[in-house]
């Protein structure tokens, strides 16, 4: 039986004249891992903060565990573990002290917290840094500590805002592993990211947001199927010739996209298309056959121009 932990209906948020979130609806079910994708400024973090009861909405309805975050903030937050985009660890305290005092903020007993600390340190792989001041930790360590800290209260819902931004590949993979384990333990995950591989790895279901609106919703595979083909062929003829070659390419596949540095051909079978190109007497400088990823969907939905 599924249970709706988070329900959002017609949610809007205005900062002065700026409409950050523009009437969105979605539902997150228990034990689900739900992703919010979108470029910077799409309204992801604002949505997260409203759900986490640290920002007030302009209009619409939000229910978290059947409660309204505007009215029962502390009661809702007792169920949540929050990992903000920017680490806000207590830099004057050590690693252990950070875990301890965070538990105290929830009103947990010293005994309860102390019994959890060694597990959390192990989870975050910070046993050797337990008495180190937070200021001296690397970025990856701080991120892991922030996640461990969010678990001290044994939350039902874990809210992660761009959990791996700025981390090196090793640190990212360790984090994914940790998050995957939490998912297996039945914790509901709500996360934002702009790494598509991360979304494909972690999310059961996701929404793509742009300019405060939802552009698409579904599971990663379904979204790829709906908004793109199975494979992509990338060919390069040199910056000045790509545009000239475009009409010839267009006839060989379902959809093409001409970029300054390369041409993307969307197709069900990229190898065959490449053979056809060569057979037609065209000789690209380089070519690449790959599976379509969520990134292609994302770029198709939100466009390629920079959003600042």
């Amino acid at each position: 039986m599924s249970e709706n932990l988070i329900e959002v209906r017609g949610l809007t948020k205005k900062y002065g004249d700026f409409l950050a979130v523009d009437g969105i609806d979605f539902i997150v079910q228990k034990s689900e891992s739900f992703g919010l994708l979108g470029p910077n400024g799409a309204g992801k973090s604002t949505t997260m903060r409203i759900i986490a009861a640290t920002s007030q909405r302009t209009s619409g309805e939000v229910s978290v565990l059947g409660k309204d975050p505007e009215i029962q903030g502390p009661q809702i937050r007792a169920h949540l573990g929050v990992v903000p985009q920017q680490d806000n660890l207590d830099t004057q305290l050590t690693v252990t002290e950070n875990l301890y005092i965070y538990g105290r903020y929830f009103g947990l007993s010293k005994k309860f917290i102390n019994s959890k600390i060694s597990d959390l340190l192990e989870f975050a792989q910070l046993e050797e840094k337990r008495d180190t001041k937070v200021e001296a930790l690397s970025g990856g360590m701080k991120r892991r500590l922030t996640i461990a800290r969010s678990l001290v209260s044994e939350p039902d819902i874990l809210i992660l805002d761009e959990p791996t931004t700025g981390l090196d590949p090793q640190a990212r993979h360790i984090l994914w592993d940790r998050l995957f384990r939490l998912k297996e333990d039945g914790i509901t995950l709500l996360l934002t990211t702009h790494y598509m591989d991360e979304a494909e790895q972690l999310c059961d279901r996701l929404i793509v947001m742009d300019k405060g609106r939802i552009m698409a919703e579904g599971n990663p595979a379904a979204l790829i199927k709906k908004y793109s083909t199975k494979e992509v062929l990338e060919v390069r003829f040199g910056s000045n010739r790509n545009a000239v070659m475009a009409p010839a390419m267009r006839e060989l596949c379902e959809r093409i996209e001409v970029l300054p540095d390369r041409i993307l051909l969307y197709t069900e079978n990229a190898e065959t298309v490449l053979e056809n190109i060569v057979a037609a007497g065209h000789h690209p400088n380089t070519s690449l056959v790959r599976r379509t990823s969520l990134e292609d969907v994302f770029l198709r939905l939100t466009g390629r121009s920079l959003i600042e």
């Binding site: 007030q56 929050v82 806000n88 004057q92 903020y105 929830f106 009103g107 969010s150």
Partner: protein, 276 residues
């Protein structure tokens, strides 16, 4: 479903008035300051106590030798050091409370984002405000006791009423802390915060810590008497010098109003203060 401990604790307060602002756990915020004090901020905090002592030595004794005994304002002649000691105690109560409730809050809000972390838990904004204020008062209490331990043996507290100067200093600190937090809730930039420092200097220099107001013309005196530090100094000076009369109640009342006003605006602006 088995309730987690954190949830059970939060549910206990559920339904009580103000439960969306206050979780009844400002103690955890004080505990945080205490842990930080033990491991890193102790030197910065404890050394704050030397400032009024240095002023007392330099002005009370250094300048004092050229001033001799002066009229304390009650007809009694006292040494210059005994005259300024209460002024310095009141001033340091003001400075400490203002710093804690303005710059410190501003920094934890905008730079270290400490409050973001606290408010992601089941604490409410009022827990944070009260916890921070309580810590500031605790600090004020320790400063006041330390100052008294230094000045009493020097014979600068001629009256036993002087003991009450300690709780009076805490009352004064509370007034300034409540006021400071209310002001900070309206400020968003460093430049605006700079105004606080600029405003403090004339308040410090002219509120009668260093001389009786009678050195100034009448209209200036009226202006100064509206300032909180003047009331603070008169209250503590009345107690340390044993000049007890009804006016002391007036000064206490001034601070009670300031506390009430400060808390009212702080509470009203809690979301602006901690949930920007």
């Amino acid at each position: 479903m088995l309730l987690s401990a954190a949830v059970a604790i939060a549910e206990r307060r559920s339904g009580k008035p103000g439960d969306h602002y206050y979780a009844g756990r400002s103690r955890a915020v004080v505990e945080r300051s205490y842990i930080a004090f033990k491991s890193s901020t102790w030197f910065v905090i404890l050394s704050g106590f030397v400032e009024p002592v240095l002023y007392l030595l330099s002005f009370g004794y250094g300048v004092g030798q050229f001033i001799g005994n002066i009229d304390s304002g009650t007809g009694k002649m006292v040494s210059y050091a005994a005259f300024i000691a209460p002024g310095l105690l009141a001033t340091s109560a003001m400075n400490g409370a203002i710093y804690d409730s303005t710059w410190n809050v501003f920094f934890k809000m905008h730079e270290s984002r400490l409050y973001h972390g606290m408010l992601a838990t089941s604490l409410g904004p009022l827990d944070v405000a009260l916890g921070e204020m309580a810590w500031a008062l605790l600090r004020g209490l320790v400063y006041a006791m330390g100052f008294m331990i230094v000045v009493a043996p020097l014979g600068l507290i001629p009256s036993w009423w002087g003991i009450l100067a300690i709780p009076a200093a805490v009352l004064i600190a509370f007034g300034f802390a409540a006021f400071g937090m209310a002001v900070t809730s309206y400020f968003t930039t460093f430049q605006q915060m700079g105004l606080i420092n600029i405003a403090l200097l004339p308040i410090f220099l002219f509120s009668g810590a260093f001389y009786p107001l009678t050195v100034f013309p009448g209209w200036t005196q009226a202006l100064i008497k509206a300032l909180p530090l003047w009331h603070a100094i008169e209250l503590i000076r009345g107690l340390t010098l044993g000049a007890i009369d009804m006016r002391l109640f007036g000064h206490v009342l001034y601070f009670l109003v300031m506390i009430a006003g400060g808390l009212f605006f702080t509470t009203r602006r809690l979301n602006a203060l901690f949930m920007r």
